[in-house]
Amino acid sequence: MSEMKSVVRVGIADMNLVHAPNSIRTSGLGSCVGVVLYDESKKIAGLLHVMLPDSSLGRSDRLNAAKFADTGIYSLMELLKAEGVRPLSLKAKIAGGSQMFQFGSSDSIRIGPRNVEAVKKELARLSIPIIAEDTGGSSGRTIEFDPMTSVLSIRTVNLGTKEI
């Protein structure tokens, strides 16, 4: 049984944790950004699928922390801390933030780049270094992180698969 590997799936505006040898994955990132926080030595990682840059944009009574860059990254760090990870040993890899369409409402058209900026700002605030990123462009991405190797593999429809 210990040989079995499974893939933890993370939905949109959602987050989860994974321990090696399992991996963690989220599908169909467009303007959304996938944020992986990982501890290389403990071989544990968390993945967050961010939809909006800033929780102050929320107009709902109930806050879903994982939807926003600021609250999401912080909450993911708290989840990892609860697993015994020291914040100082955390590193980040990020992917997503595309501009899928050329036209649209002015507010949402730049949502991809704004999500990326917000993610970087929050990571800087928490002093978590970004080791690698694949952001921007106009392609959707499906990403999978393997905490054993700390490799993030990124699949796109038109540009094939790459690892960062």
Partner: protein
Amino acid sequence: MKSDYKITDMHLDVLKEIGNIGAAHAATSLSQLLGRKIEMHVPKVSLVSFDEMFDLAGGAERIVAGIYLRVQGDLSGSMFFVLPIDSANQLIRRLIGDKEFNFYKSPIPEMGISAMQELGNILSGSYLSALSDFTALKVHPTVPSLSVDMVGAIVSFGLIEVSHYSDEVIVIDTRIEEQGDDGNSSVDGYFFLFPDPKSYITIFRSLGVL
């Protein structure tokens, strides 16, 4: 969602009627374009989570040709016409008379992109003009935009507006289908209309159910 009314089955039925009338007109337009019979399925109106939304279109990773446009005017929202990639290829091959056309080719031939955008224009135009007649609300579409990619990446863009308010979305989902000569469906497509939350009340008022 902050609201001073509760969405009941009656409200959902009204939205279903919008999907019915809108997509029926769009199906007629497509049928005239192709000179073939297009079937329309009974529309579904549901309140779904974002992940469930992607499942309605075949799962977040399914590759589709998606036309996106914003609806503006008395009511606002996002609209998608989504074709699984094989259906999109079939449709465009017939429209431009080029059997070799393929959306998988990179870069996608300009002719096919224009045809697909024009198709989006025609179909969404007939959908929205029917909606406008039915509700007596003035609506007009923005220029349609095309993307060939994963459903999740495409449709999530239309959820941005709603996501400020809620983790669920009301979707008016209508499927159209063309029966091929062998009885299997050769082309199928989906219309998804996401009214902005502030527009629900406008729709219900105009149809006298609020």
